[in-house]
Symmetry: C2
Subunit: 267 residues, 2 copies
Amino acid sequence: MAAARGQRGGERDVPAAPGATEVTMPIPPVAETPMQRARAIPEAAVARLAVYLRVLSGMAEQGIGTLSSEELAAAAGVNSAKLRKDLSYIGSYGTRGVGYEVSVLVDQIERILGLTRSHSVAVVGIGNLGHALANYGGFPSRGFPVAALFDVDPDLVGVPVGGMPVSHIDDIPKVCAEREISIGVIATPPAAAQAVCDRLVAGGVHSIVNFAPVVLQVPDHVEVRKVDLAVELQILSFHVARRADSMNVNSSALAVNGSSVDGLGVR
Amino acid sequence: MAAARGQRGGERDVPAAPGATEVTMPIPPVAETPMQRARAIPEAAVARLAVYLRVLSGMAEQGIGTLSSEELAAAAGVNSAKLRKDLSYIGSYGTRGVGYEVSVLVDQIERILGLTRSHSVAVVGIGNLGHALANYGGFPSRGFPVAALFDVDPDLVGVPVGGMPVSHIDDIPKVCAEREISIGVIATPPAAAQAVCDRLVAGGVHSIVNFAPVVLQVPDHVEVRKVDLAVELQILSFHVARRADSMNVNSSALAVNGSSVDGLGVR
DNA sequence: GCGACTTTGTGCATTCATTCACAAATGGCT
DNA sequence: AGCCATTTGTGAATGAATGCACAAAGTCGC
């Protein structure tokens, strides 16, 4: 999924550290885990909630006040049952026979995703991609202010990019701690990524988005999401190849059941 | 993330060829599909194979000739059982007691992913991100030559970027068809994405990577993979929030029960 | 050629995710 | 008030992905 997606798009593992809040109830009588942190929302659902949120924001701008699960699902490219289940994880905010109120859903999803408070972002590696990210107008929606930029190149240090001066990567730990960076974005060449990652972690960053094509090694309490163009292309390549193969096979009299080889909701 | 898969072939994962292993087929129901190669390989595994491939390439460059599933798994950030299962989908190329030969795995994974032939890529939207993509040295590994660039801006049309002149988006269908583009990369502002997507499809493109924060509507035979920074950030935000919440909640055993307005929990 | 040791490949149990399908609500109409 | 047409919310069924644990298959030393 990636993964997302998911990636799934991206694909993530490592649910989180074990210990901590896990109250392992050996013999749950009849009552379900009562005070336990209410149902964890499935990882896959969280990713989709972010998508619903964007679609809903667009709806709001168009002045749409209410919609049904069917409509929202179509706009988000998922089926309506899945959408309703996803929404049910965050509570029960619909009206039977009517649908959902856009503004209510927006508020609730924002609350669940923790978007009610802002998360400072640091971008490391101010090359082509880094530039693109630094200038990403107000950064994806608001709520994620770019509060630091880093690069190795001494000529870049001090130069403002998108209104923020670039610092040297050696200062990552110090600057991140000072500015309370909560998310680090790695946009460096692969060779530098792990070192940069280590410095971010040293600076107290617990969440990282990695654009560099390398597998980062991080301590358990740090969460990494990778965005990897090469992988995306190769996945597409795989499907192209498979499609071609199955056609050849088909032509050789092996009429496999089902007509089109393609699946459903490609979104 | 999740892209469509459709393949509904002969379920059972028959080892196929060698040693005619006991056919655990108690009931002789529907005819099996003796497909040559296309063994259904799980979507999630495909994504990881691409990662293994990259790690293996690195290994090869370092002169490593052989390694165990344990070693490769560690380098790829997955557990070894999963890695072995993933590899088993593409065949049986390891040697028990020894491990895998790097070059063999590289070849086999490339074959499965369809990397033995090249796939021409078109990048649409030559802004910051588009520039970054167009210059992405030889594009992710080889095998994905950038064969076309597009933008709306008349001032950009004709200008070479990364050695390739930019064409106008109105020419997408024509140019894509001519140059046999097989993968389209959308790096435009969200408002333009759907129109661009439609043109790509009109040009015969069946695979698309979408960097624009919109849900694309495409016909069934087109596969879209989305790369969405905003979603990634929001997923991280969710986990940060949840982490913080679970700490607070523990201290105050507040009823999660209630109607639906429980403060922190989720649900 | 034999036994000790290593590592693969996979059946099975488990967990996570998707989809179905229907009772429970709700608004509108008569 | 009562009925009808809608649409939600969710148990239960189905399907996909993960991880365990172990037999099978191989190497190495003697």
